[in-house]
Symmetry: C2
């Protein structure tokens, strides 16, 4: 059996957290190996930004930039500073002893430090028209997309009944002509203060016990067909925007339970740090953040992970 | 006395944290007012990046970008999304009741939420030649600048005796031909493990009880004149890079002790948050970070501050 080469740092992921970690690790002469995956988490390499249209809020780009364009730039920058990129999905890791083992389709790799930046995937309903109008009116991030011109003074729909759904409905009421909140049950799961905020907002209209059945449109979304479960009657609601607020699934399956998660499956890191409970294993980006979930916050924690990995490796020398 | 207009959000600062907060607050329709200051903290509006040369590690820019250029872009982006920028320095604030009062040279302003992003200023020695070669060989950030081509395989000097100085000397030994550490006392203040790392590194040479007197050079730095306090003899050390690791001063004077700080003067925020102990007051960027201090980490926390301010204001409605 041939010896397996041991790398200093392996990074798993392909979004802003992964590439910022790679840029910093590369500049620190750690020759990082980055697994960008092959349709890992159901999205192309580049992460969730590849499914967005224009990005207006990544600092440094006064003109809107396309999500895939931004990720091409970050990937180029990673490679420029010494990152080796493999377009393979990591299927498993072994964190029981150092160096850690990372297994992909092409075999095993050893590493002194591991940076996990695999992100989270927005949950979908799987309804008719969903795939067709995803990012053509359907979005999983109101903060990212709500302010786009295409949603201004237009009827908007939010799906969900928790804090995030209420917060996003409230946020979107600044932009849309009306916001319809589709709630599957006859109560909101959101906190009382959040419920009060939504219910006292004249622009927000709640449809109780109502489920979305189909996204309708032509080139872009124009409406949503819904069913009222009380009467079993269907109707179509006019909508230029449909915002899913039914949660995300952090991409941690390959870890097979070797790292602690919170009840929603997000990796747990130390406060103001990317350190997990295993020394030498760091987590950054949306896989450990269910609060902010922005490209620039992910990038910030990617930088932290690389600096913490560098300091960890230096402490072993 | 005329009524003072109450703003939703005031942001104090002009670096990546301040402008990322402004971009997010602007897009959230909060019409932020940003005080960029007039030579506040001793640097031009734009913060510490305005004193740097090329930036290679801000994600999204595969080609190096000038520090001032990057800040011009962020400022343009803030304004594009609705930020009003005032080139005035905030002299004091009153946080005892809401709305908070912010006082600048031109008068008083009221605000529902306050975002503090005033940064930190690298301590300087005030020695001869320092001003002349600042960012022409002298740097206060090894992680930012160490990997630049101008320092590769060149003799480098670090000033300081704490953990940061040892860490930066160790980091710079990857790039420079040699690293000389100038220590004012006859011991290091750094942790034992950090001392071991430095003392076992064949590229690092420590000069004990030695102080820098003058930065020498022509167009760029070429050397440092130092004095050995034991013998009182002066000598010149060849140096293409001189890295200050003698600490930073967080810019919090205008707060007059109204917010808690750690022993080094950095504002204290809640874990993984920018919330200070006063509801409605948020701190982001280097004024609350003495560990990472990078443009992209500052930007990440600026985004967090704006989202937390937006949620705070919405909770009052």
């Amino acid at each position: 059996m041939p010896d397996i080469e041991t790398r200093k740092v392996i990074i798993i992921g392909s979004g802003p957290a992964a590439h910022t970690a790679a840029i910093y690790a590369g500049r620190a002469e750690l020759s990082p190996l980055l697994f960008e995956g092959f349709m890992a988490g159901g999205v192309a390499a580049g992460g969730q930004l590849t499914t967005t249209t224009e990005i207006e809020n990544f600092p440094g780009f006064p003109e809107p930039i396309g999500g895939p364009d931004l990720m091409v730039k970050m990937r180029e920058q990673s490679i420029r500073y010494g990152t080796e990129v493999k377009t393979e999905t990591v299927t498993s890791v072994s964190l029981s002893s150092r160096p850690f083992t990372v297994t992909s389709d092409s075999g095993d790799f050893k590493t002194g430090a591991l940076i996990i930046a695999t992100g989270a995937t927005a949950k979908r309903l799987g309804m008719k028209g969903e795939q067709e109008y995803w990012q053509k009116g359907i979005s999983a991030c109101a903060v990212c997309d709500g302010a786009l011109p295409v949603f201004r003074n237009k009827p908007l729909v939010v799906i969900g009944g928790g804090d995030t759904a209420c917060e996003e409905a409230s946020y979107l009421s600044k932009f849309g002509s009306t916001v319809t909140l589709l709630v599957r049950r006859n109560v909101l799961r959101a906190s009382q203060s959040m419920q009060n905020r939504v219910q006292s907002n004249g622009k927000i209209h709640i449809l109780w016990e109502t489920e979305a059945l189909e996204a309708l449109g032509e080139q872009f979304l124009t409406g949503v067909r819904v069913i009222d479960k009380k009467s079993n009657k269907e109707k179509t609601i006019e909508a230029s925007g449909l915002f899913y607020a039914i949660g995300h699934t952090p991409n941690t399956e390959f870890l097979a339970g070797q790292l602690k998660t919170d009840p929603d499956g997000y990796l747990i890191t130390q406060p103001n740090s990317t350190k997990t409970e295993i020394p030498g294993v760091f987590a950054c980006g949306d896989v450990r953040d269910k609060v902010f979930r922005q490209a620039v916050t992910a990038a910030g924690t990617g930088c932290m992970a690389a600096l913490e990995a560098e300091r960890f490796l230096a402490s072993l020398e």
